[in-house]
């Protein structure tokens, strides 16, 4: 028999349980297995009722985020071997309501995402037949990092401010707002600023910085938010100096 490793997994069913509890499973320990493979092994061979989300198994769809030994992780990119001899604690992403076992409710994030207007805003659309909006590689580079977000929400699980104040827009949504702000083709900065300069927007962030630490795609939401604060402050000074200047 191959070596085994123990997993302690959160179980919760809203129909049966008042509060979540932990259950232990043993799975084979294989070099190429990630935590997600262990969960699938359990689901296929041991207990089909274990529930979790996954899809691509290559770190790009963003569905498989969970807490592994207390750290937010993409479970399809977290090897069992790194935690040997175990046990490994697998829990649902922190700071979100738990719907079932390892599945959390994320519609709050989607509502916030819409609020920051993550789309290109143009005063006047150019007809398709006139070709592209020109953009140099340098201009592309200035926002590309912020466009890499896969919406895995690990950053929300790491941000204590979001945990304490669910109204806070949160790292990924703010980084995506900044992604469009920095895009040379976009003309919607002031529109977005009106939404985001509210207290629940950028000002809610106290720069804990953990969002950036845990982000698997190196998006750096903490940096995005700080840069955004600086811009917002500059805009404020401008409107103070030129109150008649309009926007």
């Amino acid at each position: 028999m191959a070596e085994q490793i123990a997993l302690e997994i959160t179980r919760y069913s809203p129909e049966r349980d008042k509060t979540p509890s932990m259950e232990e499973f043993e799975v084979p320990l294989r070099k190429e297995w990630v935590v997600l493979d262990a969960l699938n092994y359990i689901k296929d061979k041991v207990d089909g009722s274990l529930s979790f989300r996954w899809s691509c198994r290559m770190g790009v769809c963003g569905s498989c985020g969970m807490m592994v030994n207390g750290e937010p992780k993409l479970t399809c990119a977290t090897f069992l071997n790194d935690y040997a001899p175990g046990p490994i604690r697998v829990e649902p992403l922190k700071n979100f309501p738990v719907m079932r076992d390892l599945i959390v409710e994320i519609s709050d994030f989607l509502a916030k995402l819409s609020k920051v207007k993550p789309w290109l805003i143009r005063k006047k659309e150019k007809p398709i037949s006139e070709g592209e909006y020109l953009q140099t590689p340098e201009e592309l580079d200035s926002y590309r990092q912020f466009s890499m977000c896969i919406n895995c929400l690990l950053c929300y699980a790491a941000c204590p401010v979001y945990g304490l104040d669910p109204l806070f827009a949160g790292p990924a949504a703010l980084a995506l707002a900044q992604r469009y702000n920095m895009d040379s083709r976009d003309e919607g900065k002031s529109e977005r600023l009106d939404v985001l300069s509210q207290h629940d927007g950028i000002w809610g962030c106290t720069f804990v910085g953990e969002c950036t630490q845990v982000c698997p795609k190196h998006v750096d939401p903490a940096g995005a938010i700080q840069q955004y604060k600086l811009t917002a402050a500059q805009e404020w000074v401008k409107s103070l100096l030129m109150p008649w200047g309009g926007k």
Partner: protein, 135 residues
């Protein structure tokens, strides 16, 4: 019989513990960084007393100097000093985050932005010390 669980309330919400900031080393570091502001404020108050003493004449000022030599005050200043250093270091290191400076299409590396902060820090500190000690 209610067959389906209605959403919302959508799931079980874990209440954040009052001691959440002990849960991770990074959170603790964050809280300490925030608390450094108390020591900053405390030293500002100390300075205000100093100004008051200075304005009150030489004897008032030497009373104040006496007060500063009190071991309790010294101990508290040692702690304050550590916190203030911690504040300075974190502040300088974080500044590159807020400023994405670009030169020739490339983002200037964080160390290059934080570096000058430290240089300025040393120069300014030396300048201030020189002015005070000169006399």
């Amino acid at each position: 019989m209610l067959r389906y669980t209605e959403y919302p309330p959508r799931g079980y919400r874990v209440r954040v513990s009052t001691y959440w900031w002990t849960g991770r080393r990074a959170y603790l570091r964050f809280i300490l960084r925030e608390l450094s502001s108390i020591f900053v404020a405390w030293f500002v108050l100390e300075t205000l007393f100093q100004i008051n003493a200075l304005a009150g004449g030489p004897s008032a000022y030497s009373d104040f100097e006496q007060f500063l030599r009190n071991p309790v005050v010294i101990a508290s200043n040692v702690i304050s000093f550590l916190f203030v250093l911690f504040h300075a270091v974190t502040w300088f290191n974080l500044s590159p985050k807020a400023m994405a400076v670009r030169l020739g299409g490339k983002r200037v590396p964080a160390a290059l932005i934080a570096g000058p902060n430290y240089v300025a820090w040393v120069l300014i500190s030396a300048g201030v010390a020189w002015l005070i000690l000169r006399g």
